[in-house]
């Protein structure tokens, strides 16, 4: 919790403190939420779920210079689309389309990271249960869609909007009555 000392420390110190506390509180909340969601799942799938495609892929890209070189060589506009079309897993219903991704500004390295991450996850989840695999692939497909197509934002954005209204109202009411 933040200490709102007066006088000596000044505004800058308080800002420094609240940023630190808010970061710690955010991380703490995230860890708890992930822990609840992962309950009942095996260790391997928990690890892979926590890392995500992007992180898995990004790690591999930095660890394998040869692959990175191939991707960097394809940064020029058109070759990127054809490279991505070959290497990115084509998500259900054409969720990931190389041309669309390029139009939306995804870099070759980003696309490569996503593709590699999916491949690595598939091999690591080989022995996971049907439920674990389903949660992993289902949520990843939904996140991939959310990152690439506007309609897939809708349930998340709608919910954040509704939650924001409620939180702001409740906070104002609490402030007015305190």
């Amino acid at each position: 919790m933040e200490s709102h000392g007066s006088g000596d420390h000044g505004g800058h110190h308080q800002e420094h403190e609240h940023g630190h506390d808010a970061t710690a509180a955010s991380e703490n909340w995230k860890n708890k939420a992930q822990g609840r969601g992962y309950s009942g799942l095996g260790r391997v799938v928990r690890t892979v779920l926590g890392e995500g495609f992007w992180h898995l892929g990004a790690r591999s890209l930095s660890a394998v210079p040869k692959v990175k070189g191939v991707i960097n060589a394809e940064v020029a506009a058109d070759p990127l689309a054809s490279w991505a079309a070959e290497h990115i897993p084509s998500f259900a219903s054409g969720i990931v389309d190389a041309t669309t991704a390029v139009q939306l500004g995804y870099t070759a390295t980003g696309l490569g990271s996503l593709a590699l991450g999916a491949g690595i996850a598939a091999s690591r989840l080989k022995d996971a249960s049907w439920l674990e695999k389903s949660i992993f692939w289902g949520s990843k497909a939904a996140v991939a869609a959310a990152h690439l197509f506007n309609p897939a934002w809708l349930p998340v954005t709608t919910a954040i909007s509704a939650g924001s209204t409620w939180l702001a109202l409740r906070n104002r009411h609490a402030h007015a009555t305190s």
Binding site: H18, S26, G37, W54, A122, A144, H147, G163
Partner: protein, 128 residues
Amino acid sequence: MTQDPTAILIRILDIIGYRKDKLTFAREFIEICMQDSFKEMLERLPKEDVSVLEGKIKEAKDLEEFSGILKHFIPPQLLERTIERNTVRLFEEYIEAILPTLDEKTKERLMIYLEEVGRMTSSGSIRM
């Protein structure tokens, strides 16, 4: 045009002075919402669907095959409602968790932004 929830979350993290990688946190937040929703829906599947799904999932090799199979068992509209419900819960829970760490000025800035986000649905746009 529907707004990118990642951008909204990053703006919130900006306001509260979050010090780590904001994009990573925003993506992880959305992934938690998705994972909770898929887990909830899969655990509620009828037994007969589970045995069929189990067999098909064993054969699937990539994301395209997995998600194609899942779509047969999880109706999109029901999935959307589940994602909405879980996201509201997780978002409220997150904001409640950080509020005690904020000073009054930051809290006020956050509330002004949340009000703006709340108006977004009716106006169809939001300034980031």
